[in-house]
C-alpha cells in the first residue's frame, strides 16, 4: 500500500532562521530519507522550494488567472512529499512519526488511490 507523507511546516529562510537552521533541516531530511531507503520502503521523495517561488493557476469567471504565490496563504506550507510503500496505516504512521517535520509542523499521512507506472494508471494495493 502506497502512502504519501505530506510535510507541512513554517518556512525558514537563511535570513529568518539562519544558515545553521537550514543546514540542520537538510541533514535531518537526508538522514530520514536514508533510513527509509535502507528499510526498502521509500519510493520517492521531494523537498520543495519555498512557497514564495510558487505560482498558482485557477479559472476565474471563465478566464485563467495566474497568480504569484502558493495556493493557500498559511503559516505552515507544504514543504515536501515522501512516497512510501508499506503494509498498512500503522506502518505508515510509524515511519511518519520519525519524519523531521513532526518537530517543526505537521506530517500528513495520505493513502494513495492510483498512480502512473510507464504511462499506465495502476490502483494502489
Amino acid at each position: 500500500m502506497r502512502y504519501t507523507l505530506l510535510m507541512h511546516y513554517p518556512e525558514e529562510t537563511t535570513e529568518s532562521g539562519g544558515a545553521d537552521v537550514i543546514e540542520e533541516g537538510q541533514r535531518a531530511f537526508a538522514s530520514y530519507a536514508a533510513t527509509l531507503h535502507e528499510a526498502g520502503v521509500l519510493l520517492s521523495a521531494e523537498v520543495l522550494q519555498p512557497s514564495t517561488s510558487s505560482t498558482t493557476l485557477r479559472m476565474f469567471d471563465g478566464s485563467l488567472r495566474v497568480q504569484d504565490g502558493p495556493y493557500a496563504d498559511t503559516k505552515e506550507q507544504l514543504g515536501g512529499t515522501f512516497v512510501i510503500d508499506v503494509e498498512d496505516l500503522d506502518a505508515a504512521i510509524d515511519w511518519a512519526r520519525q519524519a523531521p517535520p513532526v518537530w517543526w509542523g505537521a506530517v500528513e499521512v495520505r493513502p494513495g488511490a492510483t498512480h502512473v507506472v510507464d504511462g499506465r494508471w495502476l490502483p494502489n494495493a
Partner: protein, 431 residues
C-alpha cells in the same frame, strides 16, 4: 434467552437466530471484516445471512452449527459483492488490475468450523489513534455489539441520520486508509490499550443512561458489561482490563436494582435490592485485576465500587477506605468529579465544614459540585445557601429522576427565614 425446544418452528428459528446474534455478532463481523478491512460489507453480508436464516430455518430446521452456517452464507455474499466489483471497470481510469487477482481470494482463509477470534483486533481497530475519539464508542456499539445506528443515535441524543453517516464514513476510512485488524504487540500495547479501555467504558456510560428508559434486562448495560469482560478475557493478563470488567460489573449489580424514574443516592440504596450474583462476579474480577502490579484508574475505581458493595455484607460503608482510594485515584487520574466526590467523603468523616472546605474551586456549570455543595450546606445548617445551591444543581441536570430527588431534598430544608435572604433574590424567587 434460550430457544424453546417445542412450539412453533417460526418462533424456534427466530429464537435460535437471536441467540446466535447476541452471542456471536461481533465475533462474526470481526472474522468477516479482517481479511478486507471492509466493516460495512461484513455487516451487510451478516445481516443478509440473518435474514436468510429467519426465512429458511423455520422449515429446514435450525442447523447444528448456526454460527458456522451464518458465516458461510455471509462469506458467499461478500464474495458475490467482491466478484461483481471485479467485473466493473474502474472508471474513469483504466480497468483496475487490483480486483482481478482471483488467485488470492481474501475469504479463503475463513474456516466456518474453526471460527478464529478476531474481536480483540476489531476493538483495537475501533479505538485506533487514527479514528476520531468521539466515534470510537459508537463504532464499537455497532460493529462489536450489533446495535443499529438509530439506537446509538438515541443513546447519544443526536439525529439518527447524522450518526449513521459518521459511522459509514469511519468504516470507509478504515478500509481506504488500510487500518489493519491486528492486535498490537507488547511494546505498542501499553500505548494503545488505554484508548480501547476508554471506549469500552464509554459503552457502559452510554448504557447507564438507558436504564430507566428501557427494561434493564434488555438494556445496553448488560451488553456493555459483556464486552468489558470479553475484552479482559481476550487480553488474559491485563490488570486494567480486569479492573474495567470489575468496575462495570459492580455498577451493573447496583443498576439492576434501579427503579425507573426514581433516583436513590448510593448510600441510601437498600443493598438487599442489589444483584448478589453480579456483585460476586465483579469482586472476582477485581481479585483477578489485583494480581498484576501497580494500580491503574479502572482498578482503583472498581475498588471504590467494591467498598460500596461491601455494605451488603457489613451494613456500613467504610468511608476511610474510600478516602484512601480517592487519594490514590487523584494521583493517577485527577478529575473535577473525583475532587467533588472526595469532598463529600470528607464531609462524612470530618463533618460538613471540612467537606465544604475540601470542595474544589467551582466549575460554574458542574452539576455534581452544586449537588454536593447543597447537601453539605444543608448539613452545616445553612438552609438559605443550601437552597440556592439546590436551585443551581436542579437547573443543571437533564435527568428528570435526579431533578425530582433534588427538589424533594430542597423542600426538606429547614423553613427559610426570609430575612436572611437578600431582597434581590427574594424578588427573583417570587417569579
Amino acid at each position: 434467552m434460550s430457544p424453546p425446544t417445542t412450539g412453533d418452528p417460526q418462533e424456534r428459528a427466530r429464537a435460535a437466530a437471536e441467540q446466535t446474534a447476541r452471542a456471536s455478532y461481533g465475533r462474526l463481523v470481526a472474522v468477516l471484516a479482517a481479511p478486507t478491512r471492509d466493516l460495512q460489507l461484513a455487516e451487510d453480508a451478516l445481516a443478509g445471512a440473518f435474514e436468510l436464516a429467519l426465512r429458511t430455518w423455520p422449515w429446514k430446521g435450525v442447523p447444528t452449527n448456526p454460527e458456522g452456517w451464518l458465516l458461510t452464507v455471509a462469506r458467499n455474499r461478500q464474495r458475490d459483492v467482491w466478484k461483481s466489483a471485479a467485473a466493473r471497470a474502474w472508471a474513469p481510469l483504466e480497468a483496475a488490475a487490483d480486483f482481478g487477482r482471483d488467485a488470492s481470494d481474501p475469504f479463503d482463509e475463513v474456516d466456518p468450523d474453526a471460527i478464529p477470534e478476531r474481536r480483540l483486533a476489531l476493538l483495537f481497530v475501533c479505538a485506533h489513534p487514527a479514528i476520531d475519539e468521539g466515534i470510537r464508542t459508537p463504532l464499537m456499539l455497532q460493529t462489536v455489539l450489533g446495535f443499529e445506528a438509530a439506537q446509538i443515535a438515541a443513546a447519544y441524543a443526536v439525529p439518527a441520520p447524522a450518526m449513521a453517516q459518521r459511522l459509514v464514513r469511519t468504516k470507509r476510512r478504515i478500509k481506504d486508509a488500510r487500518i489493519s485488524f491486528v492486535v498490537p504487540d507488547r511494546t505498542v500495547m501499553t500505548e494503545r490499550l488505554p484508548a480501547v479501555l476508554e471506549a469500552v467504558y464509554g459503552c457502559t456510560a452510554i448504557a447507564a443512561q438507558e436504564v430507566g428508559r428501557v427494561s434493564v434486562e434488555a438494556s445496553l448495560a448488560h451488553e456493555a458489561q459483556y464486552l468489558a469482560v470479553t475484552l479482559a478475557a481476550l487480553l488474559d493478563d491485563e490488570p486494567e482490563a480486569w479492573g474495567l470488567a470489575a468496575l462495570v460489573t459492580l455498577l451493573l449489580a447496583r443498576r439492576s436494582a434501579a427503579e425507573p424514574d426514581r433516583f436513590v443516592p448510593l448510600d441510601e440504596q437498600d443493598p438487599a435490592r442489589w444483584d448478589t450474583e453480579l456483585l460476586a462476579e465483579g469482586e472476582a474480577y477485581l481479585r483477578r485485576a489485583s494480581r498484576g502490579g501497580g494500580a491503574g484508574r479502572f482498578r482503583l475505581e472498581a475498588a471504590t465500587q467494591a467498598v460500596h458493595a461491601d455494605r451488603a455484607r457489613t451494613g456500613t460503608t467504610d468511608w476511610g477506605a474510600l478516602r484512601t482510594l480517592y487519594d490514590a485515584l487523584l494521583a493517577v487520574a485527577p478529575t473535577l468529579g473525583l475532587l467533588v466526590a472526595r469532598a463529600a467523603v470528607a464531609g462524612r468523616l470530618d463533618g460538613p465544614a471540612a467537606g465544604l472546605a475540601a470542595l474544589p474551586d467551582p466549575g460554574a456549570d458542574f452539576q455534581p459540585y452544586w449537588a454536593t455543595r447543597a447537601h453539605l450546606l444543608a448539613q452545616a445548617g445553612d438552609p438559605a445557601a443550601a437552597h440556592e445551591a439546590y436551585d443551581r444543581a436542579i437547573e443543571l441536570t437533564d435527568d428528570i429522576a435526579v431533578r425530582t430527588y433534588l427538589q424533594s431534598q430542597r423542600t426538606r430544608l429547614t423553613p427559610l427565614r426570609i430575612d436572611r435572604y437578600p431582597a434581590s433574590r427574594r424578588r427573583a424567587r417570587q417569579n
